[in-house]
Symmetry: C2
Subunit: 363 residues, 2 copies
């Protein structure tokens, strides 16, 4: 089922979809399909995925790996349904779909936190490992300082606790009536998508590209407002300019957060643009613009890395505010914070390069 989405196929390997015969959905051949039918096809397929992941999650029992994978797939389809409902909103019954969208975002967030804390701990552990010279050549590296070892243990405690809490919160959420209402809505979506009555009168090849174009424009405007010229200069040291600013509050460094926010917003807009493209590709039963899909995927990955590094840097800073830690531990956390802020800067640099290619090749 996942092979229906070209962006995924493109990322999976060089064997493109162009060689495989088309598998027309209910919506019929590309030329005559209505916008409503194409959209319904995509959403139904995603709703089926959502329900299947939900079942897998329920059956996974105590197997953490299986449950994790099911939750990942669940979030994957929830994000796609919510995103596509946003981009193609005018074609849907908005009373119903706006609410579903809100609920899917809530669910995706609740189910994603456990994974996010685990990934962040892995990132920080990897960075401490690297900073201890373990990856470097020369034989006798590889042993962290006392401070680095203690910083690692402190982060491990903090993030494991956060992860355990997130796990409980997710389990609790899955037992609520709020969750059951989302599952019911997904079941409805799988059988019949509530559309705007006018959508069945619009040709897909006219209505869908127009809305995808709007999503592209919102993305392009937000991306062009980023300080891309500065970010394109390697080693511009911009990402750390608030590393020691006193405006950082007790629960995190809002100065750095303010600097990062527009990049996070562009990350969300890249995602919406990707999902919008998936619907177009579904309609054409091929990748309309394979290179655009690949670039959007790359842009999204750079901004995922931006967000992950920014959150890891904030965690290191927060851990350093733990009372009564040793100076050596605090020193190691300072090095770690700066290291992750440089990852932030590197991700911005990488995004800038990919974005140049998006604008060079996109409509």
């Amino acid at each position: 089922m996942t092979t229906k989405y070209p962006a995924v196929r493109a990322a999976a390997g060089p064997a493109g979809p162009l060689g495989t015969p088309g598998q027309p959905g209910k919506s019929g051949p590309p030329g005559t399909a209505t916008a409503g039918d194409v959209l319904a096809d995509y959403l139904q397929a995603q709703a089926v995925e959502f329900l299947r992941s939900l079942r897998l999650h329920g059956e996974s029992g105590a197997d953490a790996d299986e449950a994790g994978e099911a939750a990942r797939l669940l979030r994957r389809s929830a994000r796609r349904i919510a995103g596509v409902l946003y981009v193609y909103r005018p074609l849907t019954d908005t009373d119903w779909t706006d609410q579903l969208r809100t609920e899917l975002v809530w669910l995706s967030d609740v189910l994603g936190r456990e994974h996010a804390y685990a990934a962040r701990l892995a990132r920080l552990r990897g960075a401490l490992h690297r900073l201890s010279g373990a990856d470097a050549g020369g034989g006798n590296g590889g042993c962290p300082t006392v401070g680095a070892a203690r910083a690692g243990a402190l982060l491990e405690r903090r993030l494991t606790l956060a992860r355990t809490r997130a796990h409980s919160a997710a389990l609790q959420a899955l037992g609520t009536s709020r969750f059951h209402a989302v599952a019911d809505a997904a079941a409805l979506l799988a059988s019949e998508v509530p559309l705007d009555p006018g959508a069945s009168g619009l040709l897909a090849r006219q209505a869908l590209p127009r809305l995808a174009e709007q999503a592209h424009r919102r993305l392009a405007e937000a991306a062009e407002a980023l300080p891309l010229a500065a970010a394109g200069h390697p080693y511009n040291a911009e990402a750390l300019t608030h590393g020691l600013a006193a405006t950082a509050g007790p629960d995190g460094p809002p100065a750095e957060g303010r600097q990062d926010a527009p990049w996070h917003q562009v990350r969300r807009l890249v995602r919406l643009r990707r999902y919008a493209q998936e619907v177009l590709d579904e309609h054409e039963q091929t990748e309309v613009e394979p290179s655009l899909s690949v670039r959007l995927l790359g842009a999204g990955q750079a901004l995922d890395r931006h967000r992950d590094a920014a959150e890891a840097a904030a965690d290191a800073a927060a851990a350093a505010r733990t009372p009564r830690i040793a100076p050596a531990t605090a020193y190691a956390l300072g090095v770690l914070h700066a290291d992750q802020r440089h990852e932030v800067e590197a991700a911005r640099f990488a995004f800038g390069r990919i974005w140049q290619r998006v604008t060079a090749g996109a409509p």
Copy 2:
């Protein structure tokens, strides 16, 4: 007098030497001058500069700025005399010049330390300022954290103490018989350069380029042995790979020192190559290869920045080992250390770019 050295002229502005009429020295027109005469001309001019700076230093009294400037000029000619005696060693009376070279290196080191500590404090102060968001837009940055303020005060105390000690050591050195012997040797050099008897029989246009070429080869071999491919990748995170390695001893991080050493060595070889070129240019009474001189100057500046940042990073790490400091102070020093190691990485990246142009255009 300084305008006799084309690299200096080239750095000073676009008004090139080509438009000014040649001012032939004792060595006569380029075609027929001997290697000994050209070398003696250059060394005598530098020895005169050295003696003049020495007199300025003696007359400066309590004026720290004047004394500092005189010491800078003194080191400048000392480095040039020592460097040129090294590159063109076979043309000189090595019994005498080898000893002078050793003594000039000692003097340059003793006189340079005070300035080095002052410059390092200025660099670290500037970095703390930048990391407090003071340089960033947005209005409400600019106030350092308590930790950053304390780290700044700690570094100020440490480096001011080191600077004061260096000042005393320099004053003391200027009163020694060892120093007076160097001054006497410079006076001898200003009147007559002890050369190898064979040097007067060699044509400058044959003997000098061959020795400069050797200096170029030593530089090229050392530069090509650097990990330039990795350094050419922006954000490679190599410079910080030993930031938290336990192999760091009590008096500095030798793991980082080991990583930096080959770059410091190339820095010295770039300098020798530049001085070698100055002698050739002196002979031709023009810049033989203006673009090479400019590139060597740029390469040297990148590696100066490399060394300055590496030493500042080591100072931040050393300050963090002060007993009984607050965790917030140690945290700020960790951020500062990582920041300066990224400057190290940025300098390597910059050197790699310039070096590509040196090899593309050099003989």
